[in-house]
Amino acid sequence: MLEELYRKFSEKIKWMIIRNNGSETDAADIFQDALLSIYNKAKTGDFTLTCPLEAFLYLICKNRWLNTLNKMNTQKVTITDTKGFDYIGEDNFKLAEDCVLQQERKNLLTEKLAEMGDSCKEILRLSWSGIGMDEVAKQLNVTYAYARKKKSECMARLISLVKHSPKFNSLKW
């Protein structure tokens, strides 16, 4: 299934990005990120696609690449190669925008988490793994109260790092 997506659509995405000041490496990153963003959006259960996958994937890649260009302060790009945009529908435009924003928020969170200390990373990872804080405390061999306090401190630190990023305001939290 994934290979088929690459076989069918990677050339077109490559072509769109290279024609708009990008490289093949950029195209590979954008294509991979687009597929991950669809996967991540689908995981939330809030994902109903009502247009061809090709058009949706192209739209996500285009939005991601536009955001990248804007961050690099490149001039606005005009695209005339818009095959597949007919019949795409407003709801799918919105869905694509949500996918891109969600993935970009996730990328920023991953980047900021990597800047944190090991103890914070561990307690946050465990608390997000689906187990209760009492179990987190047990696994870390600390008291429940300490685990809760520590998790709050770590979340406050993570939020502060994220809010200080120049990307923060554009990601519609």
Partner: protein, 254 residues
């Protein structure tokens, strides 16, 4: 940032607050915009990372597969560097070629005089109306989708979209213009003329290419009397300095 805000959020979301504490917290959220924004960021992070944690093994496997496929379907960085270098050469060659094309175009524009308005209109339709402008960040509504379909030569789809937009918004003269252009390029001249007549009648528009496009359509249709009527329209476009007057002036000089 105060850690106790985060503790409050956690207590609130985990249901560990007493009813009166909840009410007090909710009232604070309503009146304190900064607190509310912080709460939204907290919720978003917590929801997104919970999902990530839950499916982390799946995501790792997916990333690994995608990276392998990237190697197969996209070139490695070394090749990209080579390609960038090739792109530079290509750009140099393209720049030179563009210069040559520019000189040739200028030559033909200024020195070639064996064309009549009909041939010029024909060239106008084939070159100037080949693509309608669309921007990356503007492609969000039906009109832009129609433009995209037009540029993709999906004329049946584009006409449906333009007509639907115009029906819903009769003040949207662009939709009417694009519908007319689509009929023109698909050689449905009588429908194109209907659109351009209607467009030309919109006197309230600051910029109105209706009359000029009607002349182009007549030149394309080329039925008895069309040429003369088109010449009269082009002259009127020039006199009124309407949209298309520069082309009209150039065409009538030939």
């Amino acid at each position: 940032m105060q850690d106790n805000h985060i503790e409050q959020f956690e207590n609130y979301l985990s249901g560990d607050m007493l009813p009166e504490e909840r009410l007090h917290f909710e009232a604070n959220l309503e009146k304190d915009k900064e607190l509310y924004d912080l709460f939204i960021v907290y919720q978003t992070i917590d929801a997104e990372m919970h999902n990530t944690g839950k499916y982390s093994d799946h995501e790792a496997a997916l990333r690994s597969t995608l990276q392998k496929l990237n190697v197969v379907y996209f070139k490695a960085e070394a090749s990209v560097l080579q390609m960038r270098s090739s792109k530079r050469i290509f750009r140099t060659v393209a720049t030179a070629a563009a210069g040559v094309i520019l000189i040739l175009t200028a030559y033909f524009s200024f020195f070639r005089n064996n064309t009549d308005p009909r041939q010029l209109a024909n060239r106008y339709v084939k070159e100037d109306l080949l693509h309608l402008s669309i921007t990356m960040d503007g492609a969000k509504d039906s009109l832009q989708q129609g433009i995209a379909a037009y540029n993709d030569k999906a004329y049946a789809a584009s006409i449906q979209l333009f007509e639907a937009v115009y029906k819903a918004h009769p003040d949207n003269s662009d939709a009417l213009k694009y519908a007319g252009i689509t009929y023109l390029v698909t050689k449905e001249y009588s429908k194109a003329l209907q659109c351009f007549n209607e467009l030309a009648a919109k006197k309230e528009l600051f910029s109105n290419p209706g009359m000029f496009l009607k002349a182009v359509t007549l030149l394309q249709r080329n039925q008895p009397g069309d040429g003369e009527q088109a010449r009269q329209l082009l002259q009127q476009v020039i006199n009124e300095k309407a949209d298309g007057s520069r082309e009209a002036e150039r065409w009538l000089k030939k």
